[in-house]
């Protein structure tokens, strides 16, 4: 398939899902996301518990082989069986043979993503066993013959009306179902019967305790309890990564998982079963005999699934995925996921940001390829993850590996000179966006011609066809005079040369070639507040290639930036950054690209421009030299800026200066760097942007202000109005 046809197929799939599932997904997912924020607001222990949970998982994965053996001893000492399955086929064989041995006709299940990974239902059905999902959400997708659209809420893509229509069609009740109560009542009774007659109960496990052979199951409905305790035989299926030592180590997870998953303080049932359990057997065929009086005996099998996990454990980058407790917070906090859901943002089994790690690990790299680009690296999931997994990084690494597998295009010559080819073959589209700095340099040198050319219809349709640049998206307009040109030409060249505060301002590619005014405003503001300002060399930070999964190129950029800044840092300069995504590079991603010492130094000495303004004022600079408020503002901060927690400084400075402003609280504007420029994702990015548009719908008389470049470009398209950086709003007049 040609690259353009492939992009059109993707765009079509996304368009269909936006139309059919988008509304229900958005309502349910944003609800859970808000509930998470609400419950965590009053939960002071959150950060400490995350640290603790992370440490426990790191240790457990480190000691995994030993934990498996301890668990085996515990389970066997309890009278159960432990089977360590190499892969899905091995696990399914064990389970179907067990069902045959038990002469099982029916099996009831509680929700388990690991059994979805195995496709054990299909294997059991083939072996002649009727399988029933007892979690209501799983029951819905089972009836609809669909895959789950969310790790926690498999049927979140269906509204009540959808479910009612489905149930009415399948079960043909005398009175059609209408309300959630009626549907729930029916499902409860229907599944209750299935549970009572089942020969085997199958559950997953959220956690498994090695010291005692206890499995922890976290549910709201009570179906896992019922499925585990009603049939005599209980089979639990769990990935090997679920093992932790004991109840003490379980505690932080009990406190965290429901809060980050659904925004509940704690789920209804945290079942900690040490099977075979003490509860008496229940023989519904002899209803008036006391429980446990039949000749049935409890039997327990724990099927531990490897299926690629041992290899993940040995993979420096995918290893972190094994810390995942599958709470779905990464999906809920993701702008793209909120709009399109797991049927687009997901692979064969798993959904959301962390799915890339799981799919690449258990199903192979290709399984992650279809949806990996939907992670824009906005990083809103980073603080949401209860075990501190760097989910954007996992997505970047997988993207890098996928790049390496793509076949070279016959149109390579179109982007010749754009990549130092460190990554080998990379799609033309990714090479184009990954080399924004080179483009910008040429675009600026040939402006305004370059700007006129890219406005031409035929040029845009060629760009769409060969490079995957969305034809409807306005492209950046390059300035002939760059920030560096302006800075070098101005007089006097070094005001405040003997000032205490010395700043090296980082001219990111956008500020240098496109949004030059915000660069000038930054220089004026910092100098007015008494700092001595110099400009660093205009070297792209590596953000652009990194966002395309071109890690080796990003590394080269990072090293050049570090080399350029080193003498300034030696001389006591502070680095000030205008573009939040580049600040995030220095603070976060450089940790992966540079040696620890270099990263730490850059990270500790780099500041968001408004953060720095705040600091100068706090340290005695006179805010009276800055501009007075001339209009009320509507301010949209930047996703990565919020992850770093520095957006508060912009708000503080605006407040100090007496501005009347409102702020947005969407997770991401939807543009996310190059994402919204790409032909196949243009519509999704506009759909995500719809949230921001709605939030500022009644703010027509406010000046629009945004911290990030891509937010600025996106908002300019969304509102058809000018958008400026906060620094331009506070900068003193020329």
């Amino acid at each position: 398939m040609s690259a353009q046809r492939e992009r059109r197929r993707k765009a079509e799939k996304i368009r269909t899902l936006l139309e059919t599932e988008g509304d229900a997904i958005q309502e349910n997912v944003t609800h859970m996301n808000q509930a998470r924020y609400d419950v965590l607001e009053g939960f002071d222990e959150y950060e400490d518990l995350r640290t603790e949970a992370r440490r426990i998982k790191e240790e457990a994965i480190e000691n995994l082989p030993e934990l498996v053996e301890r668990l085996r001893e515990s389970v066997e000492a309890n009278g159960g069986h432990l089977y360590l399955a190499d892969d899905a086929a091995d696990a399914n064989r064990y389970i179907t043979e067990l069902a045959e041995d038990e002469e099982a006709e029916t099996l009831v299940k509680s929700k388990s993503m690991t059994t979805e990974e195995l496709e054990v239902n299909e294997a059991l059905e083939e072996a002649g066993v009727d399988v029933w999902e007892t979690d209501l959400g799983e029951f819905v997708v089972q009836i609809a013959d669909e895959g789950p659209s969310h790790i926690v809420g498999p049927s979140l893509h269906r509204s009540r009306e959808d479910v009612a229509e489905l149930f009415n069609e399948v079960f043909d009740p005398e009175e059609p179902f209408e309300t959630a109560e009626e549907l729930t009542q029916f499902a409860r009774d229907y599944l209750g019967e299935r549970i009572r007659e089942a020969d085997i109960g199958m559950t997953g496990a959220n956690f498994v305790l090695a010291d005692s052979g206890t499995i922890a199951l976290i549910t709201n409905e009570g179906n896992a309890r019922k499925s585990a305790v009603t049939p005599d035989t209980h089979v639990a299926v769990a990935g090997i990564e679920k093992i932790i030592p004991d109840a003490e180590r379980l505690q932080p997870f009990v406190e965290l998982i429901s809060k980050t998953a659904t925004g509940q303080d704690i789920s209804q049932y945290v079942s900690m079963l040490t099977p075979p359990v003490d509860s008496p057997t229940i023989d519904f065929e002899n209803p008036e005999e006391p429980l446990g009086s039949g000749d049935g005996e409890r039997e327990f099998h724990l099927v531990l699934v490897d299926n690629g996990r041992t290899e993940m454990r040995e993979d420096e980058h995918l290893k972190e995925t094994l810390y995942c407790i599958r709470c779905g917070a990464c999906a809920n906090s993701c702008g793209n996921f909120q709009h399109v859901g797991g049927h687009a943002f997901g692979g064969e089994t798993y959904t959301g940001g962390i799915a890339t790690g799981w799919e690449a690990g258990v199903h192979g790299l290709d399984a992650a390829g279809e949806f990996n680009d939907l992670c824009t690296g906005c990083s809103r999931c980073v603080n949401a993850c209860p075990v501190k997994i760097d989910i954007p990084w996992i997505n970047t690494v997988v993207r890098d590996r996928l790049n390496g597998e793509s076949a070279p295009s016959e149109f390579e010559f179109l982007v010749e000179g754009l990549t130092p080819d460190a990554e080998g073959t990379v799609s033309l589209q990714k090479r184009l966006f990954g080399n924004f700095d080179t483009l910008a340099k040429i675009g600026s040198a040939t402006a305004p011609l370059s700007n006129w050319t890219t406005r031409l219809g035929p040029v845009r349709s060629l760009m769409d066809r060969f490079l995957g640049v969305a034809p409807d998206r306005d492209l950046p307009e390059f300035e002939r005079t760059t920030l560096v040109d302006w800075f070098d030409a101005r007089e006097p060249t070094a005001p405040n040369a003997d000032a205490d505060r010395k700043v090296v301002l980082y001219p990111d590619a956008y500020t240098n070639y496109v949004l030059v005014e915000r660069g000038k405003a930054a220089v004026r503001t910092l100098e007015a507040l008494g700092a001595h300002v110099e400009l660093a060399a205009p070297i792209e930070s590596g953000r652009a290639p990194l966002s395309q999964g071109m890690i080796a190129t990003a590394e080269q950029h990072a090293e050049r930036v570090a080399d350029d800044l080193a003498p300034y840092l030696d001389a006591g300069f502070d680095t000030v950054v205008i573009e939040p995504s580049d600040l995030a590079m220095m603070r976060r991603e450089y940790g992966k690209l540079l040696d620890a010492g270099t990263h730490e130094r850059l990270s500790e000495n780099s500041y968001d421009v408004m953060e720095y303004v705040y600091g100068l004022i706090e340290n005695g600079a006179d805010p009276g030299v800055l501009a007075e408020p001339d209009a009320p503002l509507a301010y949209h901060s930047h996703c990565q800026q919020r992850t770093l927690g520095v957006e508060a400084y912009t708000e503080a400075v605006l407040t100090d200066l007496g501005f009347d402003f409102v702020t947005s609280d969407v997770e991401c504007c939807g543009m996310a760097g190059s994402f919204g420029y790409k032909s196949e994702y243009y519509e999704l990015s506009m759909d995500v942007g719809g949230d921001l548009k709605e939030q500022f719908a009644d703010e027509g008389d406010r000046k629009l202000v945004a911290s990030g470049t891509s937010c600025t470009e996106h908002m300019t398209d969304l509102f058809a109005r000018d958008v400026t950086h906060p620094i331009e709003t506070v900068a003193p007049d020329r």
Binding site: L209, R225, T274
Partner: protein
């Protein structure tokens, strides 16, 4: 400390809409009959002093038929966790787990001295139980689901929970 935990527990139950009756052992039978809807099934309250399900409307021992028929299931609970308003349902051979789960109403009988402040305080108790092969469920409020498009209470587990707190034990 115990006093603080108990008042926190009561406040948490209130937030969860879980009913609470405080009673001394002597008033247990009256307290029970006020909250039990018949037919009712129960697990004998062994280990508690001076109270019993004998001579109450609650039938023992549990049978599969009673699990299906009964409106109310009465069980002892091992501990409570004040912070979340949870009761710790300990599995046993008498059938506490299914009786607490199958009936539309679960009445949990709890000693005031068993109220713990938080999950951390319960880990020692749980580890001891697990080491001995025991199982427990931290149950908080009533069974619920949002999977049918709105929050509905009473799914596979109870729709109502009521705690009888024995203030003198």
């Amino acid at each position: 400390m115990a006093g603080t935990a108990v008042s926190t527990f009561e406040a948490s139950l209130d937030e969860l809409n879980v009913g609470l009756t405080r009673t001394e052992s002597e008033g247990f039978a009256d307290a029970l009959s006020a909250v039990v809807e018949e037919p009712a099934v129960g697990v004998p309250l062994e280990g508690y002093e001076g109270i019993s399900l004998d001579d109450t409307a609650v039938e023992t021992p549990p049978t599969p038929g009673l699990l299906e028929r009964a409106e109310t299931g009465v069980t002892p609970v091992g501990k409570a966790i004040a912070e979340y308003g949870s009761v710790v349902v300990d599995s046993d051979a008498a059938g506490t787990e299914p009786v607490s789960l199958y009936c539309p109403t679960h009445v949990a009988v709890l000693r005031e001295s068993d109220v713990l402040a938080d999950v951390t305080d319960a880990t020692g108790y749980l580890d001891d139980r697990f080491a001995a092969g025991g199982s427990s469920v931290i149950a908080t409020g009533v069974s619920s689901t949002g999977d049918m498009g709105a929050l509905v209470e009473g799914v596979h587990g109870p729709k109502h929970v009521h705690v009888i707190l024995l203030t003198d034990q």
